[in-house]
C-alpha cells in the first residue's frame, strides 16, 4: 500500500476517500502494466509508487475530462517514459540481436509465402469475450515475458503506451522502417504464442 505523503505544504487538496479507494483498486493494474513495459519488477514498483504519489499531489489537477483511472494511467506512462530514457542513458538496452526471431518467423511461412500448416491462424472465438477472460490475460502475460527484450520494448511502447512509431523512433533512436519491421515481428510472435496458449487451454 502506498503511504500518502503529507500534502499540507502544497496548495492541493487531498484525494477524497473515494479516490483513495480507486487508487488502491487500480494499483495492481498499474503494476502489471509497468512490469510488462519495464521488464524489471523493482523498477516497476518504483514507477508505480511515484505515479501514485504524483496522483495524490496533483489531485486538484484532475478535471474529470477523462476517467480518473485513465488520468492515473497517463501519469504512470510519463513515469515509465522517464524510466525508459534512464535505462537507455545508462546503457541498459542490449544491442540488437536476433535471438532466433528470424528462424521462429521462418517456421510460420512456407517459402511460397503461405502460412505453414502448424502456424495457420485459427479462430479465437468472440474477441470481446476473449479480452474479458482471465485466462487470456495469463497467457498474454507469459507470452509477453517470452518476447525478446528488444522486440518487447518497441512493441509495448506502441501497443501499451500508445506511442506513435514516430515517437518510438525518437525514443529508441531507430528508423521508422525498422520500427515497422520490429512491430511486425512482435505481432507475429505474440499472435502465435497467444494462439498456442489460448486454444490449448480452451480445448481442455
Amino acid at each position: 500500500m502506498a503511504s500518502w505523503p503529507d500534502s499540507s505544504q502544497s496548495d492541493t487538496s487531498k484525494p477524497s476517500a473515494e479516490r483513495q479507494r480507486r487508487l488502491a483498486a487500480v494499483r495492481p493494474r498499474l503494476l502489471a502494466f509497468a512490469r510488462l513495459q519495464l521488464r524489471d519488477a523493482s523498477e516497476a514498483d518504483d514507477v508505480v509508487q511515484e505515479a501514485l504519489i504524483t496522483a495524490v499531489e496533483k489531485n486538484a489537477r484532475f478535471e474529470g475530462k477523462s476517467g480518473y483511472e485513465t488520468w492515473v494511467f497517463g501519469i504512470l506512462k510519463n513515469k515509465i517514459l522517464d524510466a525508459l530514457r534512464a535505462q537507455k542513458r545508462h546503457g541498459k538496452w542490449q544491442p540488437w540481436s536476433d535471438d532466433g526471431v528470424e528462424a521462429a518467423i521462418e517456421q510460420q511461412f512456407q517459402s511460397s509465402g503461405r502460412w505453414t500448416d502448424v502456424a495457420r491462424p485459427s479462430s479465437w472465438g468472440d474477441p470481446e469475450k476473449t479480452l474479458f477472460s482471465e485466462r487470456f490475460w495469463q497467457v498474454f502475460d507469459s507470452c509477453m515475458i517470452a518476447l525478446p527484450d528488444n522486440i518487447a520494448r518497441i512493441f509495448t511502447m506502441r501497443e501499451l503506451m500508445g506511442l506513435s512509431t514516430h515517437q518510438i523512433c525518437e525514443e529508441a533512436g531507430i528508423k521508422e522502417n525498422n520500427c515497422w519491421v520490429i512491430l511486425h515481428r512482435g505481432r507475429l510472435l505474440l499472435r502465435a504464442c497467444l494462439e498456442k496458449g489460448w486454444l490449448s487451454e480452451a480445448n481442455k
Partner: protein
C-alpha cells in the same frame, strides 16, 4: 495491383495499425484478405492485440493477474 502472399499480407496488416497504407498497399491487402480466411483471422487477432493495451485502463476487462506474487 501487386499480388501478395500471406507473409507479405501480414506485413501490410501490421503496418496498417501504425501508419496509413499507400493506395497500392491498401488494394493488395484488401484483395488478399478477400481470398484468404487465415489472414482474415490474423488481421482480427492483430487488431485484438492492438486493443489489448487499452483494456488495462478499462475497469471491466482488467487484466486480473495478481502481480504481487510475481516478484521473484
Amino acid at each position: 495491383m501487386r499480388m501478395v502472399m500471406c507473409r507479405e499480407a501480414t506485413r501490410l496488416m501490421s503496418k496498417n495499425l501504425d501508419a496509413p497504407l499507400g493506395f497500392q498497399e491498401r488494394m493488395s491487402l484488401k484483395f488478399h484478405l478477400a481470398m484468404c480466411g487465415a489472414c482474415r483471422k490474423c488481421n482480427q487477432q492483430f487488431q485484438l492485440i492492438h486493443d489489448a493495451g487499452k483494456a488495462f485502463e478499462a475497469k471491466e476487462s482488467s487484466p486480473p493477474f495478481d502481480t504481487d506474487d510475481q516478484t521473484t
